[in-house]
Every structure is written in structure tokens, then in C-alpha cells.
């Protein structure tokens, strides 16, 4: 009988710890510097699944860009091909690297600064990326160096 409160306490503590730790986190986020006249930019980061279930990311949005898509560059037989990815799955306890020449984010149709400058969405000059699993926002990342 004396062990029951202890077990309950342990479970509650464990639940709190799990809840406090974001299931998905990001490291090494960066964006290609803008090239004059070019409306598309690539962004890279490593997504880490800290949870015990796979996470499927199905869309990304940004206050600064009208379109953000998961893409993958595939170089086979000496030919570079870029293809959109419908979803990005990060297995439980695993990480997925979005890196130059591989999987990456393609940011298109940058909005004029004035359109977003007054919004809370803009943190200094950084770019915000919101990652969704279906309709659920699972991670927001700010990339400096805009």
C-alpha cells in the first residue's frame, strides 16, 4: 500500500518531464544567403525526434515566404534532380538532416519586408518556419541571418 503513492508520484513526475520536453527539436538551422534576382532559397537544419513515436511532418509555413516545401536533391548517374517530398518522417529517437545536396526546404515567393515587419511573426530579421503534422503545429524555428 505504501508503494502506491510512490508509484503514482513517479508516474506523474515522468509525465511532467515528458510533457516539458518538446517531442521535436531542431539544430543547426541555416538559410542560403539571398542571391540577387533569385526568388527561391534553400534552408537546412537537423530535426530530432525526442519522443517514442514517429513524427510525420506534412507541411511547413513561414510568415516571410508564400511557399515552403520539403525537397530532395538526388544526384544519380551524374544528373541532379530536385523533387518535392510529400512528407518527412522522423522515426522515434532518430534525427533527419536537411543538408546541402540532399533533403532541404525550398522557400519561394518571399514576401516584401513591409508586409510582415509589423507582425509579431517577424523576430528581428530572422525567418520563422512552422512545421506541421497534418493540422498540428509541432515545431517553430527561427533562423537568424536573414
Amino acid at each position: 500500500m505504501r508503494t502506491a503513492p510512490l508509484l503514482l508520484f513517479a508516474l506523474l513526475t515522468s509525465a511532467c518531464t515528458t510533457a516539458e520536453k518538446a517531442p521535436l527539436s531542431a539544430t543547426d538551422a541555416r538559410i542560403m544567403p539571398p542571391v540577387p534576382g533569385v526568388t527561391k532559397r534553400a534552408a537546412y537544419l537537423t530535426l530530432v525526434n525526442n519522443g517514442d513515436a514517429a513524427i510525420s511532418l506534412t507541411s511547413v509555413s513561414s510568415p516571410q515566404f508564400a511557399v515552403v516545401e520539403f525537397h530532395q536533391t538526388i544526384v544519380a548517374s551524374g544528373v541532379a534532380r530536385m523533387r518535392p517530398l510529400r512528407e518527412l518522417v522522423i522515426a522515434a529517437g532518430e534525427s533527419v538532416r536537411l543538408e546541402p545536396g540532399g533533403k532541404h526546404l525550398m522557400l519561394s515567393q518571399e514576401k516584401p519586408a513591409a508586409a510582415t515587419a509589423s507582425a509579431d511573426n517577424r523576430v528581428g530579421e530572422s525567418i520563422r518556419l512552422d512545421f506541421y503534422s497534418r493540422d498540428d503545429l509541432v515545431l517553430s524555428v527561427n533562423i537568424a541571418g536573414h
Binding site: 526568388t39 536533391t73 551524374g78 534532380r81 530536385m82 545536396g101
Partner: protein, 205 residues
């Protein structure tokens, strides 16, 4: 007789050994004299006749490749990943060679495989971003094809769901020599160090 045979046999042995030594020393090429990554063509290929435009809008032909060593990449300005990465890598390699005092330095050339969107103005801003002396080439598709067909470059337009398009294209970097001949190529993935280490051997070969 046995002594005579022994002497003749020994002389033949020495001659054979000397022959092998001479042959091996003349056939062996010092490893450091060959590019480690680039593939040198056994017979260089002439750049074909074409009429295109540089990034200033000036009309150019095959002669634009005469007089300097070029590193040539085929890509397009709307390509967000491979193209800026490759041009950035080439610019970094050129800078390192320049800092080391090496001459001749490569000129970096981008030939557009998306001439429909890549106007000379766009090419000017794009190639200029990666260095002042770079050359951008664009123009009509027929003349771009003259270049790519002869130089073994593949490219293909590919529509996506939104009606936009990307262009699949060869990822190689070509070395064109001052006689306007396709001399060697670097396969991808590209690393700055590869160009820096192979460049002196390519231009000296």
C-alpha cells in the same frame, strides 16, 4: 662450355633486369602528376560553333572560351540547392588558388539550361554574386543544345503540380582549355579541395 653458358646466362639476366628497370621507370607516371579527382579526356573535344549571349547581353560564340582556362557548370538561377552550392564551391576554390599566388586561375562559367527565364540581366546578378570575373551564358534553346549535345550535358525541363517547373541537369563541372577544347571534367559531389589540388596538374598537363 658450362662456364661460358653461365656467363652468357648471367649477362642475359642482367640485360633482362636492366630492360625491366628501364621499361618500368619510363612507363610509371609519378602519382602526383595526375589529377586525383578530375578525369582528363584522352582526346579533347572542340567547343562547337554557337551564338549565344553573355551576361551583358553581348553576342558570343565559341571564341569566348579561347585564351583562358574555364570551369564550366550548366545550371539555372532558380535552382536553390545544387547550383548556388556548386558556384560557391568553385568561387571558394578560385579564391584559395588566388591566395596561394597560383596562375593561371580558372574563370568560372555558368551556362543556363533555363534560357526561358534566365535573361542576361538575371545571369549578370547571379554570376556576379559569386565573383567579379565570372561569365554567364544564356540565349536561345537551340544554341544551348548545340553546346550541351557536343559536351555531353543532359538537361530536361520538369513541370511540377503547381505549374512551375524545375530543370534536371548534369551536375558535372567541365574544364575547357585556352584552345576552346573540353579538356577534363569533375564529377559531383564537388569539393573545393578537389579543384584546388587538381587545378595545377590540369593546367600544367
Amino acid at each position: 662450355m658450362r662456364v661460358k653458358n653461365l656467363v652468357i646466362g648471367s649477362l642475359l639476366g642482367v640485360a633482362l633486369a636492366a630492360g625491366i628497370w628501364v621499361a618500368s621507370s619510363t612507363l610509371t607516371v609519378a602519382p602526383e602528376s595526375r589529377p586525383a579527382v578530375a578525369t582528363v579526356l584522352p582526346t579533347p573535344i572542340d567547343v562547337p560553333a554557337f551564338t549565344l549571349q553573355d551576361q551583358r547581353g553581348a553576342r558570343i560564340g565559341a571564341d569566348v572560351f579561347r585564351g583562358q582556362w574555364d570551369l564550366v557548370f550548366f545550371g539555372f538561377t532558380s535552382c536553390p540547392d545544387v547550383c548556388p552550392l556548386t558556384l560557391g564551391t568553385l568561387a571558394a576554390a578560385r579564391k584559395e588558388l588566388e591566395d596561394s599566388g597560383f596562375s593561371p586561375l580558372p574563370r568560372i562559367v555558368l551556362v543556363s539550361v533555363d534560357p526561358e527565364r534566365d535573361t542576361p540581366e538575371k545571369m549578370s546578378a547571379y554570376v556576379g554574386h559569386f565573383g567579379a570575373g565570372n561569365l554567364g551564358i544564356t540565349g536561345d534553346l537551340e544554341n544551348i543544345r548545340k553546346l550541351t549535345d557536343t559536351l555531353g550535358i543532359f538537361f530536361e525541363k520538369r513541370l511540377d503540380d503547381s505549374g512551375d517547373y524545375v530543370v534536371d541537369h548534369s551536375a558535372v563541372v567541365l574544364v575547357i582549355n585556352p584552345e576552346a577544347r573540353f579538356h577534363a571534367l569533375f564529377g559531383s559531389p564537388h569539393k573545393s579541395d578537389n579543384f584546388v589540388s587538381d587545378w595545377p596538374l590540369l593546367v600544367g598537363s
